[in-house]
Amino acid sequence: MRRRLALLPLTVLGVLVLVSVFLHLVPGDAVDVMLGDSAAPADREVLRRALGLDRPWPVQLLRSLAALSQGDLGWSLSYRTSVARLVAARWPATLELALAALAFALVVALPLGIAAGARPGTAIDHLARWTSLTGVCLPTIVLGPLLILVFAVHLGWFPVSGRDGPAHLVLPAATLGLGMVGILVRLARTAMLVALAEAWAHAARARGASPLRVVLGHALPAALPPVVTVAGLQAGALLAGAIVTETIFAWPGIGRLTVQAIGARDYPLVQGCVLVIALTYVLVNCCTDVLMLWLDPRLRDGE
């Protein structure tokens, strides 16, 4: 466990370097974006020097890293305000969406998967497998518009886009969460099957425990760790999926900001967004690792 925590700063550093390198793959364009095509070359040079873009790129890299360590994410070219402020403003929206999607996924996938594992071959089992297939195979870019078409346009149950109240959260959360449902249902079902086949489960039944008690009291705690682990890992992936979902539903979060920044060729903003998303992902994975070790003492061997 300690080794993992020690690796964390190294990973963070790697992420920072990689993201900074990106920005410097496109040196001239920042100035071109700001000044447009009609500016004279001399004026461009003045601006370049002012922004520090004329230094060799390792120097620029170091300056970026120094600024980052102080929480300065740079200046957005298209919004003309600090990147950090933009990101901070959009962050709660993305968090809300991700948590809603996670909750949706857990609430749908866990009971379904557990029930399917406890009763293989029944209707519940088939439902679980169908749900899993749907979740894994329907890409977000198909699912999102489809849900909008059916539930918002035709049935009118939910609003089409935007963020203005709980009703607005339903479709985006479902879109983002369904992929995770697909994975978790399968996993929960398998974990349950394996747990119920173990010797101690048979022993509990032989001792006269009711089937429900065996399932909930004995098999469930054993089946839970792998499910939780994968859920944690997938939670990070929700962040990437949020980029697409937010774009589809015009949800004002960091994902949408990233896409808008790319469209506007606002590279400082792109860098800031990518950085924040990546670092959050690293953090979530680290927390999942810790959680996994805490939940399952069997994994706590010396490293």
């Binding site: 690796l7 190294l10 990973t11 790697g14 992420v15 990689l18 993201v19 990106f22 793959l25 496109v26 297939l133 894994v136 195979c137 329907l138 890409p139 977000t140 870019i141 198909v142 999102g144 518009p145 489809l146 909008i148 078409l149 346009v153 990070g236 992936a237 962040l239 990437a240 999926g241 980029i243 697409v244 774009t247 589809i248 990233t258 896409v259 790319i262 469209g263 590279y267 792109v270 990518v274 998303i277 990546a278 992902y281 690293v282 994975n285």
Partner: protein, 256 residues
């Protein structure tokens, strides 16, 4: 299940009509002349789907090939030699995997610009890590077995051992991984195109068509449904293929 593989091959067999723009036919729903209707610029959707399919499959194939070769090479070397070679490669993999999947691809595509080749580069740059991890762990455990010792004792060079003895044993797992990777590449490419990062405008892409369909869904739902169905059917076919392969090949190739 393998019947669904034919769904996959179908797009290859449809002949591509030219991408004619005919504004008089704007948003026409499916009829006898145009089986899937026309899109916002009067272009035949079926023809565009066929061309887009070919492009998607081609890109996915390129990405998977590139990723597999790079990943397996690096992974096998890491698994066989161990030590600091292994540590170094493992660190690189971990750093790259510190980015949630599509994020790096999106960022790369944004930086490189639109275009087929750039998409392939962007998707391969992250894609190889999965194969590398698999190759690394498989080769590492195989290296410890007796037959590897024997080969080494007989004087075989590391390259010969890896290529002739170890890699063939890792092949089944890699094939399964590649199948799912193919499916993932198709989705990733479509997502990039959806976000405007794929090929440039006249070229039809599944993602681009979905984006257009999304905007036109109220007056003309068929523009959305056609590419959506095509993409989903392909993914389903690939996933089932992968599942089937995984079950058939009954994976334990190494003693764990």
């Amino acid at each position: 299940m393998l019947v669904l593989v034919c769904t996959l091959l179908g797009p290859h067999l449809v002949s591509a009509d030219p991408l004619r723009v005919d504004l008089a036919l704007r948003l026409r729903p499916p009829d006898a002349a145009h089986w899937l209707g026309c899109d916002g610029l009067g272009r035949d959707i079926l023809a565009r789907l066929a061309v887009a399919a070919r492009r998607s499959l081609g890109i996915a194939a390129a990405v998977v090939t590139l990723s597999t070769i790079t990943g397996v090479l690096l992974g096998a070397v890491a698994g066989y030699f161990g030590g600091w070679v292994d540590e170094g490669i493992a660190r690189i993999i971990d750093t790259l995997l510190a980015f949630p999947g599509l994020l790096l691809a999106i960022a790369l595509a944004a930086v490189l610009g639109p275009g087929t080749v750039n998409t392939i580069i962007a998707l391969s740059a992250l894609g190889w890590t999965g194969y590398a991890r698999l190759a690394r762990s498989e080769v590492a455990s195989l290296t410890r077995r007796d037959f590897t010792e024997a080969a080494r004792a007989l004087g075989a060079s590391p390259a010969r051992i890896i290529v002739r003895h170890l890699l063939p044993l890792t092949a089944p797992a890699l094939v399964v991984q590649a199948t799912f990777g193919f499916s993932g590449a198709i989705v990733a490419d479509a997502t990039l195109a959806f976000l405007g990062l794929g090929a440039s405008p006249p070229t039809p892409t599944w993602g681009g068509m979905l984006d257009e369909g999304r905007q036109l869904m109220v007056p003309a739902p068929h523009v959305l449904i056609a590419p959506g169905a095509a993409l989903t059917a392909t993914i389903v076919a690939l996933q089932l293929l992968g599942d089937g392969l995984r079950d058939r090949l009954a994976l334990p190739t190494t003693a764990r």
